[in-house]
Symmetry: C2
């Protein structure tokens, strides 16, 4: 009986009723303590990986989904304590009919509410094609190897880099969660892409003057907890999933990791930490593959033609 | 119709009927070409990782299961072409009642047939306890953290090292398959054990004069193909699984990897190769953790007390 009563009380404040159990730490938290724990974890990750300098202008990549809107709210709260830092939001309109418009409106509404400058950029204006047009064209050409995610990912990262640089941002903050990071780690191992394994990390290296460094303040927040944060804070976000099917291998890895996490709580953190422990070794690999400029667009690239121009050329 | 006929013919000899399809290569093979392909792959792995020198005395670890008996047959066949090299077999009797006796008899019969010296060593004579006794004692003490596999793995490796050294072997060859290797890679990542990730490899480093280097000629042979080889060659092996339940995390990883392999043929090879590609970096990690000698038994150890003595002490 007493164990049951104890179990229903927040293990942090020891007063309020708990509503969330964190299996990997054993904590039972009330809504307030849960939200505070998320904000504290984000601050800790930012400090640990030295994500920001005090005077940074930070471009937050805001899609309109739960993770990016939660990140925007948390960074806005932190920014008030750092008067020399500043925030802008950047939203990329990939051009996905019937899906993106709602997200754009939600992103804009949140920025207005938080009084954050909001910059929008579209695939159409940058590349002359929407994602819908690119995917339709690829399908007509019988292109089977590349998923819509492959196009979208490369072109979105490029769009973010250009826009962040244009507005004079020092860093791009993205809302990749622990789940995203661990999926990407395994995806790269399962695909044999060791260079990407080496390059993807909480703070990307300073590889080229035209490359804006990306930081991931949610890299140690499980996706489930990022969603819960948005729910508790009554943040408005887009709930509908992207109409394009995501990558098969990533889907399999996501399902597998969730099963593993259920059977062995803390698995996702352990995988993340394993890779961070071999990080110095991976950095050596990354160093040996320097960046150059794309001969077509002048953007930072790993080879003569950047991946974005390569995809757009294949598709033209 | 013609496609069906083509599909049923061996893609290697183009004459015999195929009986096996290799999804990751697209090959369809007859029994003879399949067996030859396994032997060729083992020779290729041995050459690639420089597993042996011409004059090596090789101690093959033979449990009596399909993988180790197949390895013994393949190495015996190769040895005939290398007169300066020699083979012995080493079997460890862990002391598992109703299970090990059959395997020991099978191992001995195979060695007699192949005219290979067979050395047996038991946990009882080395450690004064059988595995059954160790596990029973651990259960009585309420030890929950360690599975029987944890005891068995450490003590078996120690037994192999002592016996191989006693018979003057230069190398220990174990029959770990591609499946075992990839499971172990992920197990170490999922457990956060980066040092073991660094130390486990196709050929272990020369870490200590009392440590006999271990090589894994089957590290690029899928378990399924090692089993098929034994079946085709009509090799006698023990089929019954160990009565002790194996590690939960390894079981989960095995199931996951088999699912992934089914959906994305070649996955196991890709994971194996990813890690081999970061091998130079991992070697740097391994180098920073030198070996010393156990203060209790004098065997090579990572810390003052070796893992075997630590386990035996906990259990006494």
């Amino acid at each position: 009986m007493s164990a049951n009563i104890a179990a229903s009380v927040c293990t942090m404040c020891k007063r309020k009723k708990s509503f969330f159990f964190r299996p990997y730490s054993g904590e039972r938290l009330c809504k307030k303590c849960f939200s505070e724990s998320i904000e504290a974890k984000v601050r800790a990750s930012i400090a640990k990986y030295r994500m920001f300098n005090f005077h940074d202008k930070i471009a937050v990549a805001v899609s309109g989904g739960k993770d990016s809107i939660s990140l925007l709210h948390i960074l806005a709260k932190m920014e008030r304590l750092h008067p020399k830092a500043s925030l802008v939001a950047v939203t990329v309109d990939e051009g996905i009919e019937g899906y993106r418009d709602e997200a754009l409106a939600i992103a804009a509404a949140n920025c207005r509410k938080l009084r954050i400058d909001h910059h929008m950029v579209s695939f159409k204006e940058l590349y002359n094609f929407t994602l819908d047009e690119i995917v339709a064209r690829a399908q007509r050409k019988g292109e089977r190897e590349l998923t819509s995610c492959a196009y979208c990912g490369v072109l979105r990262r490029r769009a973010l880099n250009i826009t962040a640089r244009d507005v004079g941002a020092d860093k791009i903050a993205t809302a990749h969660t622990l789940d995203d990071e661990v999926q990407t780690i395994l995806l790269n191992i399962f695909r044999g892409d060791v260079l990407r394994l080496a390059r993807e990390k909480p703070v990307t290296d300073e590889v080229h003057p035209r490359f804006v460094r990306r930081v991931k303040p949610f890299c140690e927040i499980p996706e489930r907890e990022s969603a819960l944060y948005a729910y508790i804070k009554k943040i408005k976000f887009q709930d509908a999933p992207c109409p394009y099917a995501s990558e098969a291998l990533r889907n399999d890895l996501r399902a597998m990791l969730n099963r593993m996490e259920e059977n062995h709580a803390g698995t996702k953190f352990t995988v993340f930490k394993s890779i961070e422990r071999i990080r110095p070794a991976l950095d050596e690999i990354a160093k040996k593959a320097p960046f150059t400029e794309c001969i077509e667009c002048g953007e930072p690239a790993s080879s003569d033609l950047c991946r974005a121009c390569e995809l757009l050329r294949q598709n033209s």
